[in-house]
Amino acid sequence: MNAQAGTPAPATTHTSDRAAASGALIEMADVALTYGSGPTAVVAVHGATCQVPAGARLAITGPSGSGKSTLLHLMAGLERATAGRVSWPALGEDPLGRPGLVGVVFQGPSLIPTLDVVENVALPLVLAGTAARVAHELAMDALDTLEIDDLASKLPDELSGGQAQRVAIARAMATRPVLILADEPTGQLDRATGAHVIDVLLGAADLLGAAVVISTHDPAVSDRLSSRWRIRDGVLSTTDLSTSRNDLGESR
């Protein structure tokens, strides 16, 4: 099954050419990822084919253990597919090779505990080669944008869960990425805080003009996004649920 988030496309055998032409950020062709081998092997993702275009607002939904995180890790280049091909036509190469183009927000606390908030936010910039002083200024800008500049000198363990996630978003946007991948960013937050974090995340993406892919099992989150794919037992369904639901509603 082939699909392009946000703009449903018919199946084609020349997905890469088309993706490049259309400026697709991520392209997956029959991608699988299996952990282990033999009888104990676990197939986390199986036969996933899809494209994520620039500016997409995509939710990947599914129950726990369905393969959402693995799919996001594959998209971020953090894990390697055991079959099929993952490419980033608009980025040119593996995102890990060009830090800053893809921002990742994780479910749990992902700030470096020995660095304060502004150092955490500046870290990807510094890793990408930005001078420390400039990186610090850009990080402060990001914190200012998200209205959390008062947290700049705090250590991660001094933050609440919601504050930590907002800092993680600030870190993801500090490098002005073209794509933000968020793995259940509200998974450990209460509903109100979660809603605020999603507001911040989408606001930041709008500001940057970046595509956003969020994995979630929370309908309240997925409903905030224009496209929704579903994954179950490692099998990705790229039929846009938002469109299907609309179709279903209209046919009724």
Partner: protein, 886 residues
Amino acid sequence: MTVTWLRGLLRRRRGALIATASGIAVAVALLASLGAFLAASKATMTARAASGVVVDWQVQAATGADPTAVLDATRHADGVTAALPVQFATTDGFTATTGGTQQSTGAGVVLGLPADYRTVFPGEIRTLSGSPDGVLVAQQTASNLHVAPGDKVTVARAGLPPITVTIAGVVDLPYADSLFQKVGAPPQSQPAAPPDNVMLMPATTFASTMAPLAATRPDLLTTQVHVAHTHELPPDPAEAYIAVTAAAHNLEATLAGSGLVGDNLAASLDGARKDSLYSQVLFLFLGLPGAILAGILTAAIAGAGAVRRRREQALLRTRGMSVRQVVRLAAVEALLVGVVGGLVGLGVAAAIGLFAFGSSGFGASTTSALSWTIGAFVVGLLIAVIAVLIPTVRDFRESTVTGARARVRRERAPRWMRFGLDIILLAGAAVMFAITSQAGYSLVLAPEGVATISVSYWAFLGPALLWIGVALLAWRIAYLILGRGRPLVARAIRPLTGNLASTAAAGLSRQRTIVARAVVLVALAVSFAASTATFNATYKTQAEVDARLTNGADIAVTQSPGTNVGPDAATAIASVPGVVSVEPLQHRFAYVGADLQDLYGVRPATIAAATSLQDAYFQGGTAAELIGRLAAKPDSILVSDETVKDFQLAPGDLIRLRLQDGQTKKFITVPFHYAGIAKEFPTAPHDSFFIANADYIAKATGSYAVGAFLVDTGGQNTAAVATALRDKLGAAARVTDIGSTRSAIGSSLTSVDLAGLTRVELGFALVLAAAAGGLVLALGLAERRRTFAIASVLGATGRQLRGLVLSEAVIVVVGGIIAGVVSGWLLSQMLVTVLTGVFDPPPEKLSVPWPYLATTVLVAALAIGAAALMAAQRSRRPAVEVLRGL
């Protein structure tokens, strides 16, 4: 629940458990090995001290007592295996006519020995020539009388006509000092030297020749019972001494005044128990720090997982587990690592014992074996409790669940740092150093003849305070540099981290407690290795110096007393293959006032080349300067410190010595001028002696007679050359080589053979240095896998990750090694000062075993480097489970 938890630990935390158990194993193995060394060396000392005694007791019958009753009572005393009567008669002198001349001696002693004496007490009498049976004369007597086997000697008898006997053989009496002791007199009242003129007779001959003196001069006759006592003694020399002394006292009580016991066995053990105490002290000084270090290391290894354990335990509590239940789980973990580590440690110690000491047992006797095994094992368990259980209990007392979940807390200077504990400890160490450096200070007090012996355990405070003080100071410095010197650290690590330098410095600063701890651990390990190796090397050097000082040179050829051999005899000695050079050394006796002292005549130009003269032997100038004074002014003389004090001498003062004239044999006065102090001199006794110019003495006395020839073999084949010299010179001279001297003085002060201990300690020090560096850093970095995974996800390249890890490693290596070397040097100085009684003579300077120290530093650096690179490699692509945790 406990089983499930244990199973989980074994499955998920296997590495950390193995590391903790390994730390415990090292501590247990080190303690058990050193215990084995201590017990074995004590037993060796006892055995050696006992085997050096031939006649264990000399029971002298009191005047008027019945010698048969004394013999009978002695034979029935506990521990006595054989007892034989020996009769002593004093004679006015011996006379012999040989080669047309008559020679007479002064007063002498005639002994009457039972037929089986030489069988029961082998070694007491050594035949030099002639028959072992019949009438024998001592070598010096034979020399004085110019007699040989077959010649006749007349023995004067007070109040009776002299009798004439035929000499059957010439003998040497190696234990003459104890044989002719004044039984029952304290050591200071013993005769300075055994009698010059001695004749030994079979008991039957004695009965017919000397026994009749009983009728005229019974005061000239005494009877002793010579006793062989069992040598199955307690392994500890101190206990053996007490046992033997008590048995002797018991016999004296039984004899009820009819006999006194001259306890040669106890006298020998008396010296050994002092050595035994020193070996105990050495164990405490050199061994314990290693075991403590292994314990600290274990605590650090366990502490590397403290954050994770705190979080896990906080989770268990939030899930409803009581504090007691969580503590019980920690106790189970402590027990597991304690028992496994303890058992492995004992196994390793047994293997080490087999390799280093030739025995896998943990002590000389079953009791000590058991106590060392149990003791070391219990220490292992204690370390486990301190490292694993106590932190858990402390966490519960001092923190909340929320606090426990935190990964990094705001750094706050520890309380000891705020109170300046390190400075206080160092000041204490300085005070102790000053006290122990004072003249007259003695670490081990074992007064001769007194059962009570003591160690000044206060002396341990000096090195202990220094060790801890320097470690804490290193901690403070590392903590301050990482905290306040962040820009400095950033600049230092920039070559490794590039533009990440400030970020890396900030991270290091917030973990400065962990980094400072790693620095201190490396410093402690390096310091332990450096101080132990330096001390042992210095000890070895001094043992060699001692042997050389006692023997004089590679080989010493000592002329028999009374012989008159000139310097020309050196030619004969030099002709033996293997001899590089020969230096004649005059040996005379000189009276200063009423004191008789040894006088050594040296050739100033060549003496330094023949033997090793250390500056430490002299006072008031270097060895070269003082010997030079003897050359510049031939009537110069070097005297002992004691003589300077006794006679209130000032440089240039005139000293008149009375020396025997070579021709007239009468004492003449020879003037000398005091030129300096000699504390030690090759072949000279410890107490008091003179060193003067040989030519000046020869001219003044008209005799060039040489006392000894110092033979230099270039250190090659000394034993073989010595044998060749013995063959060439026969009984005329005594030939001793440095090898046999080394083993002979092995039973005196330097008896503790450190070779085994050194091998074990240096091995452990290397392991500890590697573990302190590598393991602690590796576990610390493993705990931060998550941090590296995040950095990797954020785009850190392999080079950047490597830079982050290596910057920490470099700080640990550089800081640890600098602090370790400084601390090791200070500790070595302190150890050598505090343990100065072990050295005889005291060392001139420390002997630093550079190759070993370089190896230690290299091993520590390599271990740290390897750990850092492996951590960096693993972080390059984060593990799935780490990513899942984000």
